[in-house]
């Protein structure tokens, strides 16, 4: 079996429709996240007239994200040699993550159905999986477990609040359970980053730079942040629990403000 599996060849059935990164980035109307665009954004709540539909679209994005997270963690188990590339214990963590992500896929399918969404109703973009193709395990782990799983913390907490405000216990509790797993995944990333770069400051710096690149790519024109207009709210408390420093969280918030400002000007 080959190593570093290309995103173009990920297995999907006929219900799924792929949207290339080029198509997504070249959409002159702005990047689309959860049904919103580069237009004036606002926090995702059920009180918005299109809130339920935006949540529905976001749920589908979460679902395909879970599939790609499963594929990414699975590749990390296989792509690197035990002991020479990565410790066995790290592979064990990735195997546990695969188990979690598989469960999240099942939960997401059920939630999507609950919200009236069909599998494949929205286009799938594989940017998340592509971040999991970095040939350096430390950079891969940082990009996926700290940047993307960190984003998942923010997304799940926002969706959990959406369910709570709407009085939808199914959405609220499912998101809460998945959120608990995401905090663990990010913590794994933080712990292994520290462990694997203990005597290699240069690699640590490179990994944190890669994390910033991924965070920036997924800032989607400032859709995630701490201000009222950010559809997805940055979740400080859970990020702290997952090993983020205050300075790192401040950086992400600032990155989002800068990305939003780029749209305005």
């Amino acid at each position: 079996m080959r190593k570093i599996f290309p995103a173009e060849e990920l297995a999907r059935d006929s219900r799924f429709v792929r949207q290339s990164n080029e198509d997504r980035i070249n959409d002159p109307r702005g990047a689309r996240v959860g049904g919103s665009t580069g237009e004036k954004l606002s926090k995702l709540t059920p009180n918005l007239p299109n809130g339920p539909d935006r949540a529905r679209a976001l749920m589908h994005g979460i679902f395909v994200g879970e599939i790609q997270a499963l594929e990414g963690a699975g590749r990390t188990c296989y792509d690197f040699e035990t002991n020479t590339d990565v410790p066995f214990a790290m592979k064990l963590d990735m195997a546990r993550q695969c188990w979690d992500e598989a469960r999240h896929c099942e939960i997401s399918v059920a939630l999507a159905e609950h919200m009236g969404t069909e599998i494949g109703e929205f286009a799938e973009n594989t940017l998340l999986y592509q971040a999991a193709c970095n040939p350096d395990p430390v950079l891969r782990l940082t990009g996926v477990n700290r940047a993307l799983e960190g984003l998942a913390i923010d997304v799940f907490n926002t969706m959990k609040e959406f369910g709570s405000i709407a009085g939808d216990p199914v959405l609220e509790f499912c998101e809460d359970w998945m959120l608990a797993d995401e905090v663990t995944h990010v913590k794994m990333g933080s712990d292994w980053l520290r462990e694997l770069t203990l005597n290699d400051k240069e690699r640590l710096t490179k990994a944190l730079e890669f994390q910033k690149v991924v965070d920036r790519l997924f800032s989607f024109n400032g859709f995630r942040g701490e201000d009222d207009e950010n559809p997805i709210q940055l979740t400080r408390r859970f990020r702290e629990l997952a090993g983020f420093s205050d300075e790192e969280i401040d950086d992400i918030a600032q990155m989002s403000r800068e990305a939003a400002a780029e749209i305005v000007h």
């Binding site: 002159p28 919200m115 286009a123 009085g167």
Partner: protein, 184 residues
């Protein structure tokens, strides 16, 4: 014969075919019995949101975001089912408002969200019966968000969706208000 005008006539940000939209709108208008009307469609291609509204009832002017006509599987391309459904939903509201049973319905600008969603449910249910609307579960989710995730809300939704009799505005309002009264 329905006369459909479309603005703009060509698109730069999306790959929509104006003629195709005109044909779809014409077909929907015929089915709904508005075959002798002039209908103007204003499309904001810069927006991928799905907003739509009736800008004028007489003459009929519909204003929609490009996203309301978009294929969600293929962004920037026309979604024919979605286009027909969006136009049909707006035209059905016009038909309702022309009937005396809806004389007391508040103006669109002041219609609150739960009432709008209840009306949309009644509309989408009727369109579903004639093959012009799908996504019953999506409509149910919208209804639950405005009326509660409860058996009472689901029962009200089913009644509106199946609309066994021709409902009047007063019926829709009563169903929506009664349903929300059960919320804690």
């Amino acid at each position: 014969m329905t006369e459909i005008q479309i603005e703009p006539n060509s698109f730069e940000m999306v790959f929509f075919d104006a003629e195709k939209i005109v044909n779809l709108a014409s077909e929907v208008a015929q089915i709904l019995g508005l075959g002798n009307e002039q209908i103007k469609l204003r499309i904001d291609e810069t927006s991928s949101m799905g907003r739509s509204k009736i800008e004028s009832y007489e003459p009929i002017i519909l204003a929609v975001d490009g996203g309301a006509f978009e294929n969600t599987q293929r962004p920037r391309y026309l979604g024919e089912t979605r286009t027909s459904e969006t136009i049909a939903r707006l035209l059905m509201r016009i038909i309702d408002r022309r009937s005396p049973e809806f004389a007391n319905a508040p103006e669109d600008d002041v219609l609150d969200l739960p009432l709008r969603v209840a009306w949309d449910t009644y509309t989408a249910g009727r369109l579903n019966h004639i093959g012009l609307s799908t996504q019953m579960k999506r409509r149910q989710y919208q209804f639950r968000n405005r009326h509660g995730f409860s058996d009472a809300a689901d029962k009200a939704f089913t009644y509106l969706w199946e609309s066994p009799n021709k409902l009047a505005w007063a019926d829709i309002e009563r169903i929506s208000v009664d349903c929300r009264a059960t919320l804690v």
